[in-house]
Structures are given as C-alpha cells and as structure tokens.
C-alpha cells in the first residue's frame, strides 16, 4: 500500500486487480489442465492394451446373469399366478 497512490488503495483497486489476475491465472491453469487431461485420456483410450477377462470377471458375469435370469423367471411365474386386480 505504501507505494500505491492512496486513492487506489482506498478504492480497493489493489484487491480487485490482484483477484482479477488470480482469476485469469486460475482460468488459464484450469484450461491447461483440462485440455492436457483430455489429451491424456484420449491417448489412453486409443492406445490401451486389451486386458483379458480374468476368471473372477467371467464368474461375476456368469453368476449375475444366472441369478438374474432365474429370479426373473421366478418373479414372472409369481406374477402369472397372482395377477394384480385393476
């Protein structure tokens, strides 16, 4: 504040200027991060090596489908036996 003209300080222009600079910097940084990040993700999606399905994943898929289809059949039978009255 010492080397600023008094009216600048009293009008809080210092704070305003600083915050504007900071805001612009933040915007630039966030754009940098965002575009960098996007490029990184694009590269990752494009060049990712295929991870083969692990036995545990195959089990998860098979059990999910098995239980799911069985439950649906059971529920469909219940639905058929006990239809709701309109």
């Amino acid at each position: 504040v010492d080397f600023l003209q008094r009216h600048h300080a009293t009008a809080r222009e210092l704070t305003r200027r600083q915050s504007t600079i900071q805001k612009n910097l933040e915007i630039e940084m966030s754009q940098f991060t965002d575009s960098d990040l996007r490029q990184e993700l694009r590269d990752e999606l494009r060049s990712a090596t295929v991870e083969p399905l692990l036995p545990i994943e195959k089990k998860l898929i098979a059990w999910s489908l098995g239980i799911g289809l069985t439950l649906l059949v059971v529920l469909a039978v219940i639905n058929h036996l006990y239809p709701p009255g309109s």
Binding site: L41, L45, A48, E51, L60, L71, N79, G85
Partner: protein, 500 residues
C-alpha cells in the same frame, strides 16, 4: 495414474459445483430431503385450514396470455397470475440460495444464475402450454377457438424447457457457463421425488392393494438393472470394445443402473480415477436427453393401451433419475390424452408413479451393488491394502438419501389419506396438490438444467467416440428393448383405475 478430480472435467460440463461443496456438511441428497419435506409440511397446513403455499404459480393451457398464470389456491386468487409467479420466484430464490449457502456455494452467484434459470425455464413452460401446442381433445380446441394443435399436452411443455436448455448448451456456451451455478438437475429432481412420494400416496390410497402389487413388480426392475443389464454391458465394453476394467465398470453402471449417481458410486467403489465416472456421466446426460425426446412419443404411439407398461419402461430404459421420472411424466400426459380422445379417462398419477417407483427401487440398491463390486475389485482384481478394501459402511455412504424423503412423504400421505377422520382425509388431495405444483416447477427446472448440461459436441470429441459407441450399442441395441420386454411381462394387461 494421474491425480485427477471430478471438478477438473466438471468445470466444463458435469459438476461445476463439487469442489467447493466437498467441505460442506450437507450434500444435495440431504438438502433435497429437507427442502422436499419442508414444502410437504407447509402444504399440509391446509388440513387445518391454514393455506401457506397456495400462492405458488400454476400454468394452464392458454390461448389468451392473461389466462395462462394463476395461484394454485383460490385463497390467493386476488394475487393474480404474474404476482403469483413473482412470489414463487422470490420464495424459490431465497430457499435455494440458503441451500446453496449450505453447500458452500457462492450465494450471490447462485442467486443471479438461478434468476436466469428460473425465468428462462418457466417462460419455456408457459410457451409450451400455448393452446396450439398443448390442447388435446376437440373439445379443448373448441374451447380455445383453435383449428389445429400439436396435442403435446401441458406436460409436453417440459420438452420446450429441455430444448431451450439444449440450445443454450450448444449455441451459447458462454451463457451456459455463466449460469452453471444454478444448473443442478440432480438437486431439483431429488426435491421433486421427495414431494412425489406424497402425491403418489394420495393416488395409491384408493387402490392400495393395486399399488402394492405394482410396487412389488419393482423387484423385477432391480434384478434386471443390476444382474442382467450391468453384466451384459460390462461384457460388451470389455470383450467387444476392449475397454479396461476401470472404464468398463462405471460405464456399465451408467448405462444399466441409473446413470450419473450409479457411475460415480461404482467408480468410487472400484477405486477408479474420479475423472472416469465424470466422463461417463456427461455421456449419460446426452443419451438421456435423446431418450426423453424419443421414448415418450414411441410409448404414446404403441403403448397407449398398456399405460403401466409404458411407465415401467420409462423407469427402466431412461437413465438418470431426472430424465426417467420426467419422461414418466410426459408419457403419462401423452397417453392419458390419447386415451381421453378415445373416451377412456384413466386416473392420473399411475404412469408417473410406476416410472418413479421403478427408479426409486433401482436407486435403493446402488450402495449394495457398489459394495459387491468394491469387494470383488479390492480383494480379487486390484488387491489393495486392508485399509483401502471395501467396507460395509460404504453401503450407507453411497445410499441415495433422498429416498428417505420419498418414503416419509409416501407413508405420511398414506396415513393422512387412510388413517384420519373423513373430514381431514377429504382435504388431503388438495393439500398435497399444492405441494405437487412445486413438484411440477422442480421438474421444469430439471428439464432445463439437463438441456444446459447436454453438450452434444462431447459425442464427437476425438477419442471419446468409442465410449459413446458402447453406450449407443448397449442402450439402443439391448437396454431399451430388454426393458420393454420385462415391462411387458410384468405390467401388460394392468391398467390404471378409471377416473371417477
């Protein structure tokens, strides 16, 4: 792995609010419960002849603008339409600004942004209620003195709010960025769903066993979404498209369960980088918009005589809570109108209620499924140190809390309609009807917000097309049709009660 946070990507589209909100005590779910319950309780004051929220604005189908707006209750008839609109705007701005403060968002910026969101969204709603767009029956056309109408119904006006939001997102990106603080479809729809619980209770009260049997059929939706959809989409992403496990699990959750919240919950549970579910979520929104614009009209064309199949289908096929429940609302409106034109008058509320019930049933189990996957991932796939393994308490942490609000309003509404003396019970529908007017406004805000967040350019971004391709193949090649089949199996032949 880079250290990336949701806000890095969300600054452009999905979650602009999250950074500041991370330190907030309340999250959107709890705020939705508080705000939804507050509106519900205020509405119930009408039961003791104190009309606290009857001033909320309601829009009718109009050909003369002077007749478009009005307060929902006759008690406030002297207020006039525009003053009711102003009062509604002021009340919502104050209440939601307080919510923004609780979320540690900049209140001034929120209030300014909300002002734009409210007026644009509500203006779209008013335009959508213009008789040439909304009038359905020949009698209505005669009443408004018009010779033609698009017959979109008044709830079809949601589409107008959505389209205006889409225009802003895709042609006015700077403006979209400027109002992002108030673009919160998840908050708005959660508040609406809490209020919807009471409305659904009143609808269900007269046909309790029928409503119960519909709710029980919601179990089929849970089985389908978690055990069948997720497994198939995960397989497609991994085997056909060669995605890694980190990408495939949240992607499958987003497509198969309930969009954004599921993608984020599953991403967290398998310890994926937060950017992964954030990117998936932006895709979810774009495809949800496409579904909302297409499926209700498909349902009206082919499922008009199977109204509950249509409602269940919306709940199963349309992703994200907001889009699904709102699609249920549009579908109800379109189907009721088509049936009314044929002389069949179904009771309103059942198609929307079915769509919402299906969605809520699916939401309840997000935490459980996230725990199951988290357990498998941290113990068998990416074995992590004990401290980072999936824990049972995560089920509660990931539980969508707004469902508690839905259950409370449903139970209270049911009690008031069935367990109170006749002179009290007869006033319950009107009281909850006032709260329901707020529900409609939150739907409008949801539709507009979804539009503003849906930047279609994301689909064409180089490198992300493969993600969109999985979504496209899974959604339109599998999820929608299996959802229709299951809805048909469990709901065909069941029709809503006729209006008395």
């Amino acid at each position: 792995m880079s250290n990336v946070y949701v806000t890095d990507i969300g600054s452009r589209n999905l979650a602009p609010h999250r950074a500041a909100e991370a330190g907030a005590r309340l999250n959107e779910d709890w705020l939705a419960v508080i705000l939804g319950l507050t509106i519900f309780v205020l509405a119930l004051a009408a039961l003791v002849h104190v009309d606290l929220i009857g001033w909320v604005v309601s829009t009718s189908v109009w050909s003369n603008f002077g007749q478009a707006l009005g307060p929902v209750s006759k008690t406030y008839a002297s207020l006039g339409g525009f003053d009711a609109l102003l009062a509604t705007y002021a009340a919502l701005t104050i209440v939601l600004s307080a919510a923004a403060a609780a979320l540690k968002t900049d209140v001034k910026r929120f209030a300014l942004a909300f002002t734009a969101v409210f007026w644009i969204a509500y203006a779209s709603w008013i335009v959508g209620n213009f008789a040439n767009f909304a009038a359905v029956t020949p009698a209505e056309q005669q009443k408004f003195g018009i010779s033609w109408s698009l017959k979109l119904t008044n709830e079809g006006a949601y589409i107008f709010a959505l389209i205006v939001g889409l225009v802003i997102a895709n042609f006015l990106p700077r403006f979209a960025e400027a109002i992002k603080d108030a673009v919160r479809p998840e908050l708005y729809i959660k508040i609406a769903i809490v209020i919807l619980g009471g409305f659904f209770a009143v609808t269900a009260a007269g046909k309790l066993s029928f409503a119960g049997s519909i709710l029980l059929r919601g179990v089929a939706a849970i089985v389908e979404a978690y055990l069948i959809y997720w497994a198939v989409v995960y397989f497609i992403a991994r085997k056909w498209f060669g995605f890694s496990r980190e990408w495939s699990a949240p992607l499958a959750a987003g497509i198969s369960i309930c969009g954004i919240s599921a993608a984020i919950a599953i991403g967290g549970s398998i310890r994926a980088r937060p950017i992964v579910p954030a990117l998936v979520s932006s895709l979810v929104l774009v495809f949800a918009v496409i579904e909302v614009l297409i499926l209700p009209f498909v349902a009206q064309t082919w499922l008009a005589h199977e109204p509950l199949v249509a409602g269940a289908w919306m709940g199963l096929a349309v992703k994200t809570d907001g889009a699904a429940v709102a699609a249920g609302g549009i579908t109800e409106s379109l189907i009721l109108a088509k049936n009314a034109a044929e002389g069949i008058h179904y009771q309103p509320g059942w198609i929307l209620g079915t769509a919402a019930a299906i969605k809520v049933f699916i939401d309840i189990f997000i935490g459980v499924w996230a725990f199951v996957l988290g357990y498998i991932w941290t113990n068998h796939i990416n074995v992590t140190p004990d401290a980072d393994k999936a824990k049972l308490k995560e089920i509660w942490q990931r539980f969508p809390k707004f469902i508690i609000g839905f259950v409370i309003t449903f139970v209270v509404g049911l009690y008031l309609a069935l367990g109170t003396p006749a002179d009290v019970a007869k006033n319950v529908p009107a009281a909850i009807g006032e709260a329901n007017t707020f529900r409609v406004i939150f739907f409008i805000l949801t539709f507009f917000s979804i539009g503003v967040l849906s930047n279609f350019k994301a689909l064409w971004r180089e490198g992300f097309g493969k993600l969109a391709a999985v979504y496209l193949v899974s959604l339109f090649g599998f999820v929608i049709w299996v959802g229709l089949l299951i809805s048909w199996i469990f709901f065909n032949g069941i029709t809503p009660p006729l209006a008395s």
